[in-house]
Structure formats: structure tokens, C-alpha cells
């Protein structure tokens, strides 16, 4: 089998953000199987949790589980755990802007209830 080496350093230039070994990191199928199973288990978990009477914690738990699942997908299926800083930063920037949109918009909606608009 002609699989490339897992860590092959080949710096062509001094680009600070280029760590060239990312692409060649091959995640073994075992990891995928574990991750896939975890995801299925968490799916069952979240359905089960939704039948419990937890008040405000129902959505909290549902979202928490969803976040865990999403993180696992991003880290392993999407290889971010093995990727360059740049990729991690990119994901971070996306999540940050997404939260900005939501949080700053809701800031208007929640403070309207304080009485003045």
C-alpha cells in the first residue's frame, strides 16, 4: 500500500501560518467508528432527556448535547484536531461572529422588556 507518511515536513517558504503536515495526517477508521458511535449514543440521549421534566434545563441540556456532538464532528470528522492553527482560528472566528449576531440581536430583545423602547 502506498500510503504517504503521516508526518511529512516540506517547508517551501516561510509562510508563518502554513503547517504543511496537516493534510497528511490520516485519522484511522477506529477513531471514526468511536466517534460515530458516540454521536448515535448522544442522539439517543438527547431524545431521552427531552422526555424528562427539567424546566429551563430542558433546552439547556438539549443544546449542550448538540454542542458536544457538533464539537466532536468538527474535531474528528472534519480533522480540526489535527489541523493547523489557521484552521482552528477560522472555525473560532466563525463561531464568534455567529454568537455576536445572536447575542447582540438578543441584547435588544431582552432589554426591551426592561420597559423603555
Amino acid at each position: 500500500m502506498s500510503a504517504p507518511h503521516e508526518h511529512q515536513h516540506q517547508h517551501t517558504k516561510d509562510n508563518d501560518d502554513a503547517t504543511h503536515d496537516d493534510h497528511l495526517h490520516i485519522v484511522p477508521p477506529r477513531t471514526y467508528i468511536i466517534v460515530g458511535t458516540i454521536l448515535l449514543i448522544f442522539t439517543a440521549l438527547t431524545v431521552w432527556a427531552s422526555y424528562l421534566e427539567l424546566g429551563v434545563f430542558n433546552p439547556v441540556i438539549a443544546l449542550f448535547i448538540a454542542c458536544v456532538k457538533a464539537t466532536v464532528v468538527v474535531l474528528f470528522f472534519m480533522h480540526v484536531k489535527y489541523s493547523s492553527k489557521l484552521t482552528k482560528l477560522t472555525v473560532g472566528a466563525g463561531v464568534f461572529t455567529f454568537l455576536t449576531l445572536i447575542a447582540m440581536t438578543l441584547a435588544d430583545y431582552f432589554t426591551r422588556a426592561w420597559g423603555r423602547w
Binding site: A113, G115, R116, W117
Partner: protein
Amino acid sequence: MDHISQVLWQFLEKWLTNFSLYPPEASKIAPQMDALYFFMVLVSLIGLTIVILLVTGFSILYSKKRHPVAVQIEGSTLLEATWTIIPLGLFLIMFVWGALIYFRVYTPPANAMNIYVVGKQWMWKAEHPGGQHEINALHVPTGRPIQLTLISQDVFHSFSIPAFRVKREAIPGRYTSVWFEATKTGTYHLFCTQYCGTNHSAMIGDIVVQTPDEYKKWLQGSTSGMSLAQNGERLFASLSCSACHNGRADARGPALAGVYGSKLTLTNGQSVSVDEAYLREAILNPSEHVTQGYSPIMPTYQGQISEDGVISLVEYIKNLNSNDRVEQTLTTTTLLPESEGKAAAVGTSTGQTSTKQGMVKQ
């Protein structure tokens, strides 16, 4: 030639008489707003002058002729810090000052006289508490804080009185408010400043500021019979509100006397203070904020009362200080024809969301 110069002269004259550079200051807030405005103009002029002086000065001093070889300079932390911090400081002053004015403009004093304004494509309708209606005009007295409670029947509009330096958007589905105290008599422009479709530019009118005496006279001269509260009372009866809100011990709904201005606790634990906006919500979307101790049985009146009708009801409830008046409506209900009372109580069964149906005549 002669003819032409005459025309020209007329034109010029017309121009000169129709020319102004600054709007009149006709409200209490206007001088305060202008103080800030001129402060900002001043800062801007200084800033602009500095920039212009720098650019032209250096251009002259260091033109290629005078200064053939450039001296390379990296930068200067001190200078850069200066022009970061000074503008920032000035901007922050403007922010604080501006915010103070903003809150003043949008926080009506408790003793303000309330006038309702309904905007719709393409006219303004003002409703005085005494029941006087005005279209594209608003009469107000000097020396008295006036609160406007605004709502739109369709799209966004904006109620703008440049001479007062106040402006507030009238939005669909929710009351907004603004207040002012006029100081100078006269007639001023009223504009709709939010783009609202074809005749946006025709949605204009006059603000007539009168002395309190003149205003009183005007009020008397233009009463149309019923005050808002009286009209509300009529509606309260005809829509059978009094069937539940009759103030009796066995009533299905809470007594409404004195509810305005009080604080209510809702079933979801929230506490709300009852203002015009809340009353409107309580009538149109009752099940969204159910008062503690009651069940959500009150039907929605959405789509059955026009905004003017809601305003009358709100004004009526606001002025309910004791339950006597409600008792009276109970007697009037029985006098009214059956059908009108019924028409309002339906609505639970149909799944229609149309807003046009079942309007009760005002």
C-alpha cells in the same frame, strides 16, 4: 431684456424669502439638542481644520521643489497615541452627552398630556383625549409637556417635527412614545421621515403651537361629541368586555379600575408595569401575558378592533379610577342591540387570521 430681468428678480426675491439656514427652536429640548449639535460642529471644524492645515502645510513645506529628498521616518508612538486618545475622548463626550439627551427625549414626564397618533399610508391621525381628531395636523399648547403615543396601521412611519428636534418612528403592532414641550407659538412642519411607499412625501402636515388659551378654544371648537374615554366606554360595553371585567366578586376577569400604572405579576412569574403599550397587548394578545390568579380565557380582539378602537379602550381603562363607571356600562350593555355585542365575542372558533374581518365600527 427688461422683461427677463424682471422675471429673474422675482425669482430671486422668491428665493430669498424662502430661504433659511437653520430651523427654529420651538421646544424645550431644542436648545439642549442644539448645544450638543454645535459642540459637535465645533469639534468637527477644529478636526477638519487640523487635517487641512497638516495636508496643505506639509504640501507646501515639503513639495519636491523645496525638499527634493525625503527623510524616511518610521512613525512615532507618542504622536499616534495622541491622535488616538484625543478623538476617542471627544467622541466619548459626545456619546455621553448624546445619550443623556436621547433618554430625555424618550422618557416622558409623569404629568404629560397624552395625545395618540396613528400613522397609515399616507396620513397622520391625531386623537386628543377629548375626542378631537385631526388629520395631518396637530394642535398643541405651549408650556405643557405633551406625550405622543404612536402606532402604525401598516408600515413604518416616522413622526418628525424638526422645529422641536424630536422624531419617533410609528411602527406596526406596538406603541412607541416621545414627548416635547413647545415653547413658541407658530406653525411648524410635520414630516413623515420613514420611507413608507408611494406618497411618502405627501405624508406631511402642520404642527400648530398655540397659547394655552387659544388651545382651549380650539379644543372646544373642534370637539366631535365623544371623548376618547367615552368612546372607549361605548366599545367596552359593545364588545362585552364588561361581561367579565365588571368588578364584581364573581367576575371572570380582573377588575380594571386603577390597573393603569400598577404592577402586575404574571403567571410565568414576570412582573410588568401597566402602561399604554401593555394595555394594548392585553387586549390583542391576552394569552401571552396572563395575570396571576386568572386563567387564559379572555378572547383575543386582534382583527376585530381598529387601532383607533384600541386607543379608545386604552384611554378608557386608563381613566378608570373606580368601578362605578363599569357598573354603568353594565346597564348600557343591556340597552344595546344584541347583535353588536355578539359579533365581538366570536372569533375563538374560526381559524382565520385575516385582519380585515369583523371590524367593529368606531
